[in-house]
Structures are given as C-alpha cells and as structure tokens.
Symmetry: C4
C-alpha cells in the first residue's frame, strides 16, 4: 500500500499519474489497470503451464513463444515503471514482491543467452504470486487478515503438533520396515516413513501398501490414530478463529471514547469506565 | 413459498384448488401431492441412472423407454399446471426452479426429433434438484437456513482460502514437474498441478505418485502441509456455526432491564433478578 | 441399567444374587462377571473372524469348531439366566440387546440343522455389539451421553447436509460420465456417481480415475469443493459439542435451590431469583 | 525440568557445572549444549535411516559404521554424565527418558557381540524421542501443555468414539465379506475389516476395492458415513481447545466486585466500572 508520506514537489505530473494508477484503485482508470494486470498474469501463467504439455508445444510452439515474449515485455515495462514511480526504489527492489517481479521476467531473458537453462523456467510459475499484490489493495483484506491472524496465533501450537507427527511417522515407519520388509515394497526406512506419512495424512496412494496380516493390523492402528490426530490442527485453528469471529461480532462500541470490543453483557466501557 | 398477496376474485375454484395442493402442505391431499411428487422424482432419476448401464439397457430397454415417457408426461403436465396457477407465470418460468423444471422435461422431446442428441440426456439428472423445492416448503427449513447462513458468512474467507490453495498447488505442481519429470508420470505442469490437488486434498488416487526419493520427500512435505491446511476451511465454517448455535440458544431478553443471553431454561433475569 | 423398582418378596435368594451379578458392578464378584463377559465376547468375535481365513480354517478347523460351541453354550446359558432374572422377560426378549443376544447364538444352532446356511454366520459378528451393554453399566456413560446428545442435536442439520451431498454427487457423477465416458472406466452413471463419492469424501481408491485433461480439471474442482464441504459436518458437530462442553464447565450452582448451569457473569439464580 | 531442591554443599564445582549445562539453558554455553545435542540426535537418526537404504549401505557402509560409533560413543558419555550429575540416579535411570537414552545406545553394543541381532537396530530410531527432552526445557512448553491438556480432557470421549468406530468396522467388514466374497479380494473377515478401516478413515489405498454394484453401493454408504464420523473426534478436541483458548484469554478478574471474564485489553471492570 502507498505510504502516506508527502510526494516531493518536483515530481513530474506524469510520474504522479503512474503512481496513482499502479497503487490506487478508486477511479475507473486505476481499477482498469488492476483488472488488466490480473488478466495478464493469469493468461501468462496458463501459457507457462500449457508450454509444458508436449502435444501443445509441438503444435502451437510459435504462438506460445510469441505470447511469452509479449508478456515478458509488458512485465519488464511494468517492473521499470514501478521502480521509476517508487519513492524508495531500493526498498521496492529488495521487497518480497519486488523479487517475485524480477524472478518472473528474468528466466525468459536468461533462456535467450543460455538456451539450456530449462530449470529456470520454473520461476515463471511464481508469477501467480503477483496476483496477491493486486488483491491486497482492493478487497478481501479484512478476511485475509483475520485468517492470517488466526494462523499466526496458532503457529506455535502447530509447530509442536508437526514435531509430534514427524516423531510418530519416524517411529511408525521404522516399525513397519521391520514388519513388512523389502519384499513387500518397504525397501528402506525412509520409504517406510514416506508410507507412514501417506497413511497418517489419509492420502493413501496405494503405491506401497501392507501385504502381511500383521502389517495390515499395524496399519489399521496407524489409520485410526491418524483419524484422531487430524482433529488436533483443526481444533487449534478453529479455536483461534472462533475466538476471532466471536470477538468481531460482539464489537459493542462506547459512545464516549469510541472503544470497541465490549461484550453484550458489559454495562460500563472497559476503557473509560463510562456507562455504555 | 406462496406470496401472501390476495388471490384475484375472478379466479376459478379449480385453479385455486390446484394452487393450494401444489404450494401448501397442511391438509392430507396437499401432503399426498408432495409425497407423490418426491417419489416420482426419485423413481425417474433412478431410471435415468439405470438407463446408462449397458446390461440393463440391453435387457429392459423397452420398459425404461416407457417409464421415461410416463414421467416426462406427468412432469410436463405438472409444468403447465404450475404456469396456469401461477400469479406471475413469467416470473416462475424464468426462476431457478422454473428452468430446472423445463430442462428436466425438454431432453426427452428433443431426443424424439434429434435422436443423436445424446448429451442432452444429462439434463434429466437435474431432476434431482426438484426435490429441494418440495422440501423447501415442508421441513428442515430452519436447519437449511442456518447452514446456508453460516456458509454465506464464511464465503469471503473461503474464497481467500481457495485462492491461496490454488496458488499453492500451481507452485507445488511446477516444482514437482521439475523434480520427477515426464518419465515418472508427471508429463506436464497441468498434470503435476492435478497431482498436487489430489495430494493436498488427501484424495490420493495413486494413478500418479512420486518415484524418486527427492520427489517422495517433497510429497511428504506437501501432505503434512495439507494436513494443516484442511484445518482452515473447517475452522472458518465451525467458527460461524458455533456463533450461530450459541446465539440461537442464548437469545432470550429480560423485559425489565434489557439484559440478553439468557438460556431457554432460565426463569429469572441473571442481571436484575426479575421474572423473565 | 437396572430399574429402581422393588424386587418382589417371593424371589429366591439365588435369582436375586444372579440379578445383582449381571446388572450391578460394585462388588468384586459383580465386577469379575463384567470382565469375564467382555473377555468371552472379544475371544468369541476373534474366533468368528479367524474362522473366515482359509488357511486358519484348514489347519485349526477342529479347534475353532470346539471354541465356537463352548461360547455358544455359555452365551445360551447367559441368555436364559437373563430371561430368568428379568422382572419383565418379554420386554427383555424384544429389547434391542435382547434381540442381539438371540441373534448371536442362533446361527450356530441353525448351522447344525441347515449346514448350508452360511450367510447366517454373519450374525455372530453382531456379538461385538454386546460389549456396549456391559460398558453401559460401568463407565464412560457421561462421555457417551454427551457425544450422543451432540450428535442427536446435529441430526437434522446433518440430514440436510447429506441430502445436499447426495444431490451433488448425482449431478457431478452424471457430468463426469459425459466427460470421460465408458472408455476410461466411467461405464455408467451409477459407476460415475460411485467415483464422485469416492472423490468427494477424499477416499480416492484410484480404481477409477479421470484420464482426459478435461476430466482431470473437473475432478480437481470436485476435490477442492470436497475440501470445503468436509468442513460442514465437522462444523455442525463441533458447534454442538463446544456448546455442551462450555455449558458443562460453567455449571455454577445456586445455593438456595440447587439449580445449576449459571454463567460466570450471572448475579441471580435463573430459577429462583435469589442472589448467587 | 530440574528440581528446585538445594544442591548438596560437598558437590564438586565440576559436577555442578555439568548439571547446569545439561539442565539449564539461559547462558550461551548452556544453550550451545542444547543446540549441539539436537543436531547430534538429528544427524544420528538420519544415519540410522540412510543405513537401511541398500544402495547407500553398499557404497558408504564404512562411513555409516564410523558415524554410528562416534554418536554411540558421545551418547554413552552423555548417559553416564547424566547419571553422575543426577541427584537421584536410580530415578533417572528408570524414568521414561532414562530408558529411551539407554535403548538408543545399547543396540550398537549388542550388535558387536551378536552380529545377527538385526531387529535391535530399530531401537536406534527411538533416539528421535530424545529431542523432546531438550525442547521440554527451552520453549513451546506452554503450547505443548495446552495441547496435552486438551487431548487429556478429550481422552475419555475419544475412547468411546474409537470403540464405536471399531464396532462399526467389525460389522461393516463382515457384511462386505458376504457381499463381495473372496473372488474380489475380500478373502476373509479380517481382510474385509482392514478394508473397512482403510475406507472409513478416508485413506483409500485401492489395493482392495469393491467390484460388484451392490458392494460399491454399500461402500458409498460407508464413505458418506465416514465423512460424518470424522467430524466427531475433531469436534471433541476443538471443543476442549476452544474452551482452553477462550478461558486463557478471558481470565482477568475485577478486584472490586469479583467479576471475571475481562479481556486483556480492558481497563475498567465491565460490571461495576471500577479500574481493574
């Protein structure tokens, strides 16, 4: 979001105009820019994805190449305009979204000079992250913040939970390696641990599955445990969100000092002590 | 539900009678109509489903054809009666349920003139939606409304969440495409993204699954993340429903002092001690 | 649970003693009976399960046959003792647990006269239900009741939810049948609906899975929807349980009339109006 | 955690120093010990896991053997130092973590004398449990305790729930055995029960899956039930956690009137208006 600092007097009208179009979204021209940018990002990400399909690349290779360059050109232009209108260009360049912007245009240029740098193409998929910057300014800010706050508040509990799960799958995987052994697909402890994760998270690919009766009995135990374990992260996040939602809906406001967040049962403002 | 507007004087008794039978459900004759309609819809949907089974179509093709025409006839009759008794026929025709009613009878007639219009048959499956209209009038209205309200209240948060998930699977799928590559079934980025969705939602078909140790390690990370991520929509809906349920049960208000939040079993105001 | 009615005077001491041993569980002899009964049920159910394993039946057929008859004899004895000590024998015989008791001994006798009545053996698995009667009397009554109450309170909401899910899978399955068609395993609408259920519930066997890009795209939509949908029943049950748990822990008690369930913020008893 | 008892006067400075380094973690040297210990445990567990991979063992067998002995040496040293600095050595030796410490070094020595004792190697995987002792002292204590309390409070409800699930899968598995039979992979009741667990917990390997229309219909019922059933443990844990979180955040008490339930941000009592 734009900093509320004063804009320097000597700035050109044009620069100021660009700044408004990129960072604000109240006037039609500014909204149009946001919508076009989101569309460009989506089309460009779809192009990257389709380019990886052999059949499509064989048939429409030229078109994809052209589209790729058009969007890279546009995004490069946008990148430099952003630097130009930014009050603190360096801060923008090294910000999270600044790096994402750079990474999403660089691979196409690198590919020009080092045709074998196939793996760099991946960074183009990061373009999808750019959508969030646009959305950040317009809508859903309240919802995203509430979710973010609930996840942040649950983070330490979730770390404890994930550590417990990792310990569990290490021990369960090791036991299963002994029970089933390499002849039933459990070729090593890491593979058994992978299987334990696939099972405990209820994904259950079925690429490795227990064959012996003892293994199936033990797997049943893991599954029923996993059933209970899945309740824990849900409980953590839900508890935080319930609290947040309840608080939000109980926001009674003091007429005297403007303090919000009073419960329905409160009689006096918790901030200034005046009757509500 | 019927609008409480006055019925025009010049309406025939018959038309009024039809209207009551279709829209009300307090007298036995009116209830019988609802029950018969639900039965007809269920039998007709089962017929559509069985007609798609090769073996059954080969053996009972004639019977299915006959049943299909009987129900189409009945539903056509019902459709015209609904238009006839409706005070604002056009509003009914272009309402959601009006279109569902039309779409669920049209395919059979079209099939008569254009025998190849196989795909239109699908619309017959939409008949199942008609059950909801009947139910709407009779029971479960309170429950459905409460669920609907909770989902509606969570909608914006769920949109934010789904966008975050879509971004995640796009990036995770692209990374997995690089790790595993076409030789292990990850033939393109869209297919890898499909795999990421199958994994993150814990569906886990197993039609594509990571083969390399690095891929399995990365997949394990996705699964454990998915385990935590599934907690978020649950938390969102639960928080809203908890609020709704708590509010519903706590809504009683003291006439004397205005204190709210009394339980249904309370006899005296918990604030001023007066009888509720 | 035993009815608190008076025991008729003319009852024999022995009958009364049996009654206490079967229905109470405070003295050591009474507790021992409960423990032995649970053990007998578990061993007998394990025998039924093992008897179905070809290899075990071939080797230990005689032993299993003997064990089966010993337990059938014991349970028959127990059944008649229960009728003997019951104050209202007919009410017991036609109660839920009375029928379970009968069904769990009958198949062995029927098998004697009609050796082909293989399917009746299934009823022996119902013996496992008998464990609940024993547990009902001893412990976990509070917990089971609270769970039962929460599920009962959520029942109507869950019915609405299940109906919405059934409608969804019918429509989604029909669409998938058109997209993928018989050549990719979606041989009929019922089979496609089965696939939709397997996918939406995140079970994901992988016996049928979409092969075409369009089908995989559509399946991805279903999976992400299912991800959100799973939140609804969880939300329903959690909301009820949160309410029950919160209520249980907030049980403030009025000194004057003994009414419980006051909130911490209450100043007057909600029953008699006295100051708490 | 270290007991706050007085340290005997005659203890050597060295012993006291060791004690502080092992049990405290406020000074840099003490923190360094914790970090090094965690690193040693992680590296050693990774070595155990890699040693089970055939290819790695073939190539780096010597290195793994050496690393194994270095860590066993270090952990043996640590074990004896812990006994040495402990005020009640026997209590430490027979405590949970004391036994884990012993079990994680013993297998390597036993392997020296009984080269065939392959299965004992598993105990080395238990080393991962040792991480929890280190973490116990430093951080996440509050979070872990809150989770532990919520799980403990839900334990009796979860036992009731697991018993209900076990009963369900026994009966559902038996019915499925009759419906599908050995020719479709349901070779015995235990195997059918295993399938029922795989399905109800939404793992869904797909190694066994129903083939007959009736079986698929019945499986659909189980899946939709499982969808509802998964809500129960989540509801149980969430209800407890919501209560814990809400209570923790609402614990402030007014000194003047005794009213509880104030938020941390409140400045005045919401009941009497006095400063908190």
């Amino acid at each position: 979001m734009p900093e509320p600092e004063e804009t320097p007097e000597h700035w050109s009208k044009f620069r100021e105009r660009c700044r408004l179009i990129i960072f604000h979204s109240t006037r039609p021209a500014e909204k149009l820019f946001d919508v076009l940018l989101i569309l460009a990002i989506i089309v460009s990400v779809i192009t990257v994805m389709l380019a990886s399909v052999e059949l499509i690349r064989a048939e429409y290779g030229g078109l994809i190449y052209a589209v790729e360059w058009v969007f890279t050109g546009l995004f490069t232009l946008e990148y430099f305009v952003r630097i130009y209108v930014s009050k603190k260009p360096l801060r923008y360049i090294f910000s999270f979204f600044g790096l994402v912007d750079l990474l999403s245009i660089l691979p196409t240029y690198v590919d020009l000079f080092l045709p074998g740098a196939h793996y760099l193409m991946l960074f183009r998929a990061l373009r999808v992250l750019r959508i969030f910057r646009v959305l950040k300014m317009v809508q859903f800010v309240g919802e995203a913040n509430q979710l973010y706050a609930a996840i942040k508040a649950s983070l330490r509990k979730i770390i404890v939970f994930v550590m417990a799960v990792v310990t569990m799958v290490l021990i369960l995987g090791s036991i299963m390696y002994l029970i089933e052994g390499p002849e039933h697909g459990f070729t090593s402890i890491p593979k058994s641990v992978y299987w334990a994760i696939v099972t405990l998270t209820t994904v259950g690919y079925g690429d490795i599955s227990p064959q012996t009766p003892l293994g199936q009995m033990f797997a049943s135990l893991i599954m029923i445990t996993g059933y209970g374990v899945i309740a824990v992260p849900t409980g953590i996040v839900t508890a935080e969100l319930t609290l947040a939602t309840t608080t939000e809906k109980n926001e009674r406001r003091c007429e005297t000092c403007g303090e919000t967040g009073h419960k329905y049962t409160a009689k006096y403002c918790r901030n200034c002590g005046e009757r509500l």
